[in-house]
């Protein structure tokens, strides 16, 4: 039991971070506004969670320009994908073990 809980990643504890990782896991890359629309959170809230995931190296950033406007796109790193998958497996195992 103890070991299963250890597999739950602390970095994914917040709803917003779970949402970010879920969306990025199945999309090549998403820009800030697309994420904001999907998650329905404020700019500041989303930015701080993205920063945290970036710091863990779970999420990468690609800065490009559309015309003159800067466009920041976020993608999941291979490390992030692995950790996220482990987190999901841990959740599934926890539910099974409690049955």
């Amino acid at each position: 039991m103890k070991t299963i809980i250890n597999n739950l990643n602390k970095a994914f504890e917040s709803r917003v971070r779970l949402g970010i990782m879920s969306a990025l896991a199945v999309n090549d890359a998403l820009d800030f506004n697309a994420l904001k629309d999907l998650l329905e959170v404020t700019d500041g809230n989303l930015a701080s969670h993205l920063k945290a995931l970036e710091k863990e190296d779970f999420v990468g950033v690609k800065k490009t320009f559309i015309g003159r406007k800067p466009n920041t796109r976020y993608y999941i790193t291979s490390l992030g994908k692995r950790e996220f998958e482990e987190h999901i497996t841990a959740l599934e195992n926890l539910i099974k073990s409690q049955k």
Binding site: I5, S22, N27, L30, A34, D37, L38, L39, E92, I95
Partner: protein, 208 residues
């Protein structure tokens, strides 16, 4: 320690976010039903136009004078049916997205439209070529085949059930290309009947 309920909710949210961010879920069963009704009405009118003019529709080229009046009427009719069906689908999707509080235009919508458009535009151009060569008998089968391929291609980005509608259209299209004189019947079955059946199924499955 968190409760089991919370883990389940986490997983549900992960799943829902993955679906919402990749699939266009604002499509409604009613769009299919309405498209089918327009198509059946269109097919009936087309039948009358063809029947009244007693055109010989075959693999062979038609004489230039045959390509006039009634063909123009048929093309206009097809465009009206298409515009009505697409217009209704957009309107109903817009309404559903408002009710469900989704954004209608998002990366998933864009991908759906691109994947739908490539086979459709290819088919459209191919049909213009058939038309210009006078191979009118192959037009109805071609619309079914290319529409089916477009649906199959787009099904990855919306409800997966769209795939089966796509395969049905391809099969009907292939059959229609063999039984060349019956193009209109196959067309009515594919665009009319199948849309209605599929629309009702989607409505019962997802909107009840």
């Amino acid at each position: 320690m968190k409760e089991e309920q919370e883990y389940i909710r986490d997983l549900t949210e992960i799943r829902s976010m993955m679906e919402r961010s990749t699939r266009f879920l604002s499509l409604t069963g009613w769009s299919g039903i309405m498209a089918g009704i327009y198509a059946l009405a269109g097919a009936y009118l087309a039948y009358r136009i063809i029947y009244l003019n007693e055109h010989e529709v075959t693999y062979n080229s038609l004489e230039a004078q045959q390509l006039s009046g009634s063909i123009l009427q048929l093309v206009l009719l097809a465009i009206v049916v298409l515009v009505l069906a697409i217009g209704t689908a957009i309107l109903l999707s817009y309404r559903k997205s408002r009710i469900k509080n989704y954004k209608l235009w998002n990366p998933a919508t864009r991908r759906l439209l691109i994947n739908l458009a490539i086979p459709l535009v290819t088919g459209g151009l191919f049909i213009i070529v058939l038309f210009s060569k006078g191979l009118l008998g192959l037009i109805a089968p071609s619309t079914l085949i290319f529409y089916g391929l477009a649906l199959l291609n787009a099904s990855k980005f919306t409800f997966e059930d769209v795939k089966y509608l796509g395969i049905t259209q391809i099969v009907l299209g292939l059959a229609a290309s063999y039984f060349i004189g019956y193009g209109l019947y196959f067309w009515a079955a594919g665009f009319g009947l199948m849309h209605i059946i599929y629309g009702i199924y989607m409505h019962l499955r997802y909107e009840k």
